[in-house]
Amino acid sequence: MITATNLSKAYKGVEVLNIAHLDIPPGQSFGLVGNNGAGKTTFFSLLLDLIQPTTGNIFNHEITVSQSEAWKPFTASFIDESFLIGYLTPEEYFYFVGELRGENKADIDTYLAQFEDFFHDEILGRRKYLRDLSKGNQKKVGIVAAFIGSPKVVILDEPFANLDPTTQIRLKKIIKELTEKRETTVLVSSHDLIHVTEVCERIVVLDKGHLVKDIKTSEATLKELESYFSQDVNVGEPQEL
């Protein structure tokens, strides 16, 4: 259960996020969409306590994230490359994250075995450091590492961007399987409306920091989103912050 109350974030007086109330029940696959600068990454950063809220709080399973570190053991995330350690090989990185989440080397090896086709033979056993991998492959490593140790909450920022089509499809499958058991809350943000509607059972649209739509995904959702986003095509996009 993730709850945001009265949550806002402002930089130098300019408000970039303002959410009066948002509840995300456990086990939900939650999608966040919006144009550049809508506040998606800001929301995730607040949820991970990487930035401080101007007002309000976020609770992750009843823990105020900015006041206690107790949410860390069951929360995993991949936001951007700053979540990777460039001078480790992918294996070492997985083992490291595994150790932090209480899994031993053998656990990780079995865990990684199921991602063999996801990695497409380009990541494991290549004797390369993460910093020498391509952007797409780096992303794969970050995403797979975020699923290590069965976390209760997984946060992925733009997981589909930069991935090749095959991997996108595989990733969607992985996320769906994960949320089927209703034990893991997955939060995903994306610019790709098709992917989000396929993966998420609930979609929230942010616009300039405000929550403008909260949809339970159905057949009609994609149409609804497309028409929403095409209405202000002529208005011009706000700048990424």
Binding site: L48, L50, I79, Y87, L88, F96, D132
Partner: protein, 494 residues
């Protein structure tokens, strides 16, 4: 086009995240430049009269010429260490309609205006003027000599450029050249073949036949061309990447497992040090600076004032502590948000750093034991200094780290790279060394040597006993500054 490049550079300087620091550095460099210019100018003006006074029989110009080669070798060495080559971020230019030749020429022409190229002129010009007015040389000859010196300075400049650009990736290619230089140096030393003398003779000959100045100018142009071709070949995206495709080193440091909870972090730190240029040099530096003791202990002046030995002891056993500890969270800057979002209790993270630094102090402490040769008091002082470092200085440094928010790019070489060095870091370095010296001095003057030793040891032991609660306190400080640190570490650039 040159104007545009200058404009880009100007913007990047004034809009960088750490403008204040860069400005401070520039001011410092300008002061140094003024100081050296003045020193060289004085030397240049004084050179002719001085030679006449101290070497009355000699011809001043011929005497100077004999030292030209020596100076050039020295200058090349200094340039190699100190001169920063102009850089141009070519990536954004590759897909723009900017001529390759133009961008390369910009870099090269800019290099010609380096301060290092003007420095010798402060000697050459006044000395030349003296020669014209006081000596019995042909004016044209002296003018030719001055021009030749200017050209030779530029030759050294571009030779340095070539060495730095072409050979730093492959230092082995330089070995033949170094061997030749060493061979000539040896011949010179044993007075078999004095190349500097013959070089001087050549310069004398040039004074007699000033038109020969075209020779150094031709060499200068050839070097310019060589640089141009070399740089143009590098004008590709992957040119800089080539050497990176090395096989990853997959050493595991399994033995760290013994350390329980902090093992994963300890492993990570060891890999950090082992696999990245800059932290790796802190290790080499630590071993090299162990020799610092010879400087102190062989000098009788310090025998009188033992507090200086405390300084040496703190310095030698703590050099890794200072070099590495000073930048503690900044080493992890490029993935600091991950460290903050992952299941990593801050205290354990800090405990691992403290453990690593403590280990280094113990190792360096053991390595300083041979200095017992210079006296038992030195051994005792070093042991106490190590204790003090472990107990007191380690927590102080870690605490100071919470004010650290300047990112370090791990790949950059540390030579003339001030990245991550801010005012707070330098301030913290002083109390680390001065405080124990002061305590020692105080107790030695008013009680005795033993009491002074005991007070430092006691302070160290108290610190070690309190380490756990100190770490809790420091973790709190890191927690408080967390957002500022995450934000600061995200800012890349100079």
């Amino acid at each position: 086009m040159f104007k545009r490049f200058l404009w880009l550079e100007y913007k990047s300087f004034f809009r960088s995240a750490s403008l204040g620091k860069s400005l401070g550095l520039k001011v410092l460099l300008i002061f140094l430049a003024i100081y050296f210019s003045a020193a060289f100018l004085m030397f240049g003006i004084g050179l002719y009269p001085l030679i006449q006074k101290f070497f009355p029989g000699e011809d001043p110009l011929q005497l100077v010429n004999r030292f030209v080669l020596l100076w050039l070798v020295f200058e090349l060495g200094m340039r190699f260490m100190l001169q920063t080559l102009p850089v141009l971020d070519i990536k954004p230019l590759l897909n723009l309609p900017v001529g390759r030749r133009k961008a390369v020429n910009y870099v090269l022409v800019k290099a010609m205006y380096s301060f290092f190229n003007f420095l010798p002129l402060f000697i050459v010009i006044p000395f030349g003027i003296f020669c014209i007015y006081k000596g019995q040389y042909n004016t044209w000859g002296i003018l030719g000599w001055m021009l030749a010196m200017l050209a030779i300075t530029q030759c050294v400049n571009f030779l340095n450029f070539i060495i730095k650009k072409k050979f730093t990736e492959n230092l082995k290619a330089l070995i033949p050249a170094i061997l030749v230089v060493l061979a000539f140096a040896a011949l010179e030393y044993f007075e078999i073949f004095e190349i500097s003398f013959w070089f001087g003779k050549m310069m004398d000959f040039l004074v007699a036949h000033p038109y020969l100045v075209i020779v150094p100018i031709a060499i200068f142009l050839a070097l310019f061309k060589w640089n141009q071709i070399n740089l143009e070949r590098k004008f590709y995206l992957d040119a800089g990447l080539k050497q990176k495709q090395k096989d990853a080193d997959t050493r595991d440091f399994v033995w760290t497992k013994k350390f329980g909870g902090i093992a994963p972090f300890l492993q990570l730190d060891l890999k950090l040090i082992w696999r990245n240029k800059r932290p790796k040099t802190t290790i080499y530096m630590s071993f090299i600076l162990l020799a610092y003791g010879f400087f102190f202990y062989t000098n009788d002046v310090y025998q009188e004032f033992e507090a200086f030995y405390v300084f040496a002891g703190i310095f030698m056993t703590g050099i890794f502590m200072m070099n590495f500890g000073q930048f503690v969270p900044a080493w992890d800057a490029s993935y600091y948000s991950m460290i903050m979002a992952q299941n990593i209790p801050l205290k354990q993270y800090l405990a691992s750093k403290a453990g690593l630094i403590t280990f280094s102090i113990v190792v360096l402490g053991i390595l300083t034991t041979p200095y017992v040769y210079f006296g038992w008091n030195i051994l005792l002082i070093n042991v106490v200094a190590a204790l003090y470092n472990i107990g007191v200085n380690v927590p102080i440094l870690l605490y100071a780290g919470s004010f650290n928010k300047k990112r370090i790019d791990l790949d950059k070489s540390p030579f003339m790279n001030y990245q991550g060095a801010g005012a707070a870091q330098w301030l913290v370095g002083l109390p680390l060394m001065i405080l124990p010296v002061f305590f020692f001095w105080l107790f030695q003057t008013f009680i005795n040597f033993e009491a002074a030793l005991i007070i430092l040891a006691v302070l160290g032991i108290i610190g070690i006993l309190l380490r756990s609660s100190l770490l809790n306190f420091i973790a709190g400080a890191y927690q408080k500054r967390k957002y500022a640190m995450i934000n600061g570490f995200k800012q890349s650039g100079e």
